[in-house]
């Protein structure tokens, strides 16, 4: 029943999505890197059927490139289709895939996307400007209310111009520095102009053969894949939502690799030479959220007291079994602008007690709403309950199942948990989480100074100056934000030792963001 989902994806179905973010003009980032198959340590061998045991997945599974909602869906979409760009597994910087280049004008309100040459769809048709324009229109079609639309809300579907067969110019209503980030998501695969989800044709490394929602799919190698590989003949993606069953399937040799192994099973797999672990340090965060506009957390002293109550090392040790890094109540640790200089917050019960007293609380009785939205979340909640006792804070747990947790009360809880996948840009994250107008502002953080800095940073073109602004924002979050970000969890997958080609990935998605074209049997 640990059918937790990527929370953001889940929310897309539940909550009205207005525009996601509109970015100030910025220069195009260095986007020239290409995926490099040649960098593989070993000469790949060809053949075989790769069987993947996927987390999540269920009766709602779909192959519609723009309707995918869970990790099993993503895994299938990533292998049937392809994206314009995707963050590099190691550097976490955007890397071109189907896009050859994306150049803004000076004002940042006009972007020219040039597609890679010689890419063909599974049906033999080559990838062209029409396909990109069709994809954008399909994603933004108001009739189908796709979640994908929100991610590229800054795009005007009517403002596209086909410059040539491979080039499209986007006229944006407002300047945006990070045009490609909206296309580097799980729901923005490029589909052909005559796309039919019943016959899913893409440019991905594998071609559709069969699919049963909630059960499995079978794909075959796309021999004309543009990026090198794939090496295996067939790819079978099997939904095994229950983590125990998933591990058992791997141990029993029923699958070759599994997504997300529970921390408690790591030792079992580690001790066995037949299996390998894929351990990725990610920026994925599983915060406690305090509503800054509701008592008792409307008082910043109480918030700080709560943060001081947490013994972060112990929490990482107990809740994540050490599979993670301590957090400092700030997200996006891989961002170059990350405020590394702020002192690491440590448990200080005396100070917490004093702060509570100052805020007028001798003791504190609060309810923490928790749910198994990701591994370690309920465990961390239990650890918090225990740690808070020392400061006279009595926390009562209310455990919900994930679907109830993300039900109508979501974003209204005074004190709750959450699960965030990492984004590769601090400002994008702010716009979603605690910036002005953020859709998932679970902490109801609305700080005028912070908001002011945010809009300045959006418009600031100079990287150094922007960094300064961003670090100021982080100081505010550090001092009076609504999150307790106690740590960053590792993404851990496991696979048979017969396989090679996986590499650690900062994206927070399992199995190197489902990069199965690199995987081969040794």
């Amino acid at each position: 029943m640990n059918d937790f989902r990527d929370r953001r994806e889940y929310m897309r179905e539940l909550i009205s999505r207005r525009r996601l973010l509109v970015m100030g003009a910025a220069a195009g980032v260095g986007l020239a890197v290409q995926p490099n198959i040649a960098a593989l340590a070993q000469t790949p061998k060809k053949g075989g059927r790769l069987r993947i045991g996927m987390s999540q997945g269920g009766p709602t599974d779909t192959l519609d490139a723009h309707r995918v909602t869970n990790q099993a869906d993503f895994a299938r979409a990533f292998n049937l289709y392809d994206l314009l760009a995707w963050p590099n597994a190691e550097t976490f910087e955007l890397e071109m895939r189907l896009a050859e280049s994306a150049e803004p004008n000076k004002a940042g309100d006009e972007w020219t996307v040039r597609l890679r040459k010689g890419v063909t769809f599974h049906n033999g048709k080559s990838l062209g400007a029409d396909d990109l324009m069709f994809t954008v229109r399909r994603m933004m079609d108001p009739q189908s209310k796709l979640s994908a639309a929100a991610m590229i809300a800054y795009v005007d579907a009517k403002g596209m111009t086909k410059l040539d067969d491979r080039t499209v110019r986007f006229k944006l209503p407002k300047p945006n520095a990070e045009f490609l980030s909206g296309f580097a998501t799980t729901t923005s695969s490029i589909v052909p102009a005559d796309f039919d989800p019943a016959n899913p044709v893409g440019t991905g490394p594998f071609k559709y053969k069969s699919f049963t929602p909630g059960d499995r799919s079978l794909f075959v190698a796309n021999t004309s894949f543009w990026g090198g590989g794939p090496f295996v003949d067939e790819l079978e993606i099997i939904d095994i939502a229950d983590e125990t069953a998933r591990v058992n399937a791997l141990l029993g040799g029923q699958v070759d690799a599994i997504a997300s192994i529970p921390y408690t099973r790591i030792a079992t797999v580690e001790g066995d030479a037949s299996f390998k672990l894929l351990r990725s340090e990610t920026g994925g965060w599983r915060p406690f959220t305090m509503r800054t506009d509701a008592p008792p957390f409307d008082n910043p002293k109480v918030r700080e007291a709560m943060r001081l109550v947490v013994d972060r090392e112990q929490m990482v040790e107990q809740a994540l079994l050490g599979e993670g890094r301590v957090g400092n109540d700030l997200y996006n640790p891989f961002d170059p602008d990350f405020a590394k200089d702020l002192p690491q917050r440590k448990q200080d019960i005396e100070r917490a007690k004093a702060l509570l007293k100052e805020a007028g609380h001798d003791t504190l009785d609060i309810e923490l709403v928790t749910a198994p939205v990701n591994a370690g979340v309920v465990e961390a909640s239990q650890v918090l309950v225990e740690q808070a006792k020392a400061a006279g804070i009595n926390i009562k747990l209310r455990k919900l199942d994930p679907s109830s947790f993300f039900g109508p009360d979501y974003l209204k809880y005074t004190f709750a948990v959450d699960n965030w996948s990492p984004t590769n840009s601090y400002l994008v994250q702010v716009a979603q989480a605690d910036g002005p107008g953020a859709v998932y502002n679970e902490t109801h953080f609305n700080d005028p100074e912070f908001n002011d800095l945010f809009s300045k940073a959006q418009q600031e073109v100079d990287a150094a100056k922007r960094k300064e602004l961003i670090q100021k924002m982080q100081k505010i979050q550090y001092e009076r934000g609504g999150y307790i970000i106690w740590g960053f969890a590792n993404q851990i997958d496991a696979y048979s030792s017969k396989l090679a080609g996986f590499r650690p990935d900062r994206n927070g998605l399992p199995l190197t963001s489902f990069e199965f074209e690199r995987v081969f049997f040794t």
Binding site: L14, G58, P59, I240, R246, N248, G252
Partner: protein, 328 residues
């Protein structure tokens, strides 16, 4: 497992007919309970399908398509007549027809329960009979210990232990996860059935073994068995011809109970093995608040209960001449 239900012998054929009619009445009542129960749940299925922010006109359209705009009683009868035509509606989660969704899963579960029963019943009879004939001897005692220990272990534990023993840590003889692709014949995936079936068997074996042991002991003490011995009938024949046929009669009702128990047991067992059957469909549906699927499975399980009990009654009557030929 629980004890045999009390069996009140009434006139054979007419009684069976009455039971059948009662069974239909029970099913109707169950359908009402299931329908009203799920109606009482908060939420609008149309919104559940389309999402909270769906345009009102589209919600309205879907409500019409789903037949949600007619009075509840009308809805019930529409639903009921749908069921009678094999149409259980459409899954809210996958938007597929529930009947299609559950067809293969139903078959898998049926095979699983059938296989489990096919193992459990003969093994229980053998163990129980063996134990009864060696009453109070070491053999009897060891069977007693085995059944008592098994009773004390919840089936999820039994399943976990089986996985460790046969599928992962100790040996890897059998699949730990029952992966049967939809639409493919489950007969090609026989190995996927073994561990779940074994779990169900171990969960139900103690009850039936004890039931048959008790029944055999009672019968072995009966005057007609003593009479057969005094006629000089060979012990083998005494047991097979005189004792067993009569001892089997309460076992029929017991087996029915085992079958209906297994129908519930598959929920845990299928969850444990990710076996693609009705049980795992139910846990999935509950997690997804997928009402039509929940309704369908509840009705199917209830129907199974009614049918199995009816069959058991019929068999009991066939096996009991007194019930079969009562006309005087």
């Amino acid at each position: 497992m629980e004890r045999e239900q009390n069996w009140s012998p009434v006139q054979g054929g007419a009684w069976l007919l009455r039971r059948a009619l009662l069974g239909v009445a029970t099913l109707l009542m169950i359908s009402v309970v299931v329908f009203l129960g799920t109606q009482a749940l908060p939420g609008d299925p149309a919104i559940a399908i389309l999402g909270r922010d769906a345009a009102p006109d589209r919600v309205e359209l879907l409500r019409q398509q789903l037949g949600l705009n007619v009075p509840v009683i009308q809805q019930y009868f529409n639903w009921l007549s749908g069921i009678l035509h094999g149409d259980f509606g459409r899954s809210l989660a996958s938007r597929r027809a529930v009947s299609g969704l559950l067809a293969t899963r139903g078959l898998n579960s049926l095979l699983l329960v059938g296989l489990s029963a096919a193992i459990c019943i003969p093994v229980s009879l053998a163990l129980g009979g063996w134990s009864a004939m060696r009453r109070d001897k070491p053999a009897d005692l060891s069977v007693w210990v085995l059944t008592t220990v098994l009773t004390a272990l919840p089936e999820f534990i039994v399943g976990m232990v089986l996985v460790i023993l046969f599928a992962t840590t100790v040996t890897r003889l059998l699949p730990a996860v029952s992966m049967i692709p939809e639409g493919e014949s489950p007969f090609y995936y026989a190995s996927a059935f073994i561990l779940p079936a074994l779990t169900l068997v171990l969960a139900t074996l103690p009850y039936l073994t004890r039931l048959f042991r008790g029944s055999m002991i009672e019968v072995l003490q009966a005057d007609y068995v003593e009479m057969a011995r005094l006629k000089g009938v060979m012990e083998r024949r005494v047991v097979l011809r005189h004792a067993v046929p009569n001892a089997l009669i309460p076992t029929v009702q017991g087996s029915a109970l085992v079958l209906t128990y297994m129908a519930g047991g598959i929920v845990v067992v299928e969850y444990l093995f990710r076996f693609p059957g009705l049980g795992s469909a139910l846990t999935d549906a509950i997690a997804n608040r997928d009402l039509p699927v929940i309704q369908a499975i509840a009705v199917i399980q209830a129907a199974l209960y009614v049918v199995v009990n009816l069959l058991a009654d019929y068999l009991t009557i066939r096996l009991t001449p007194r019930l079969r030929t009562s006309h005087g």
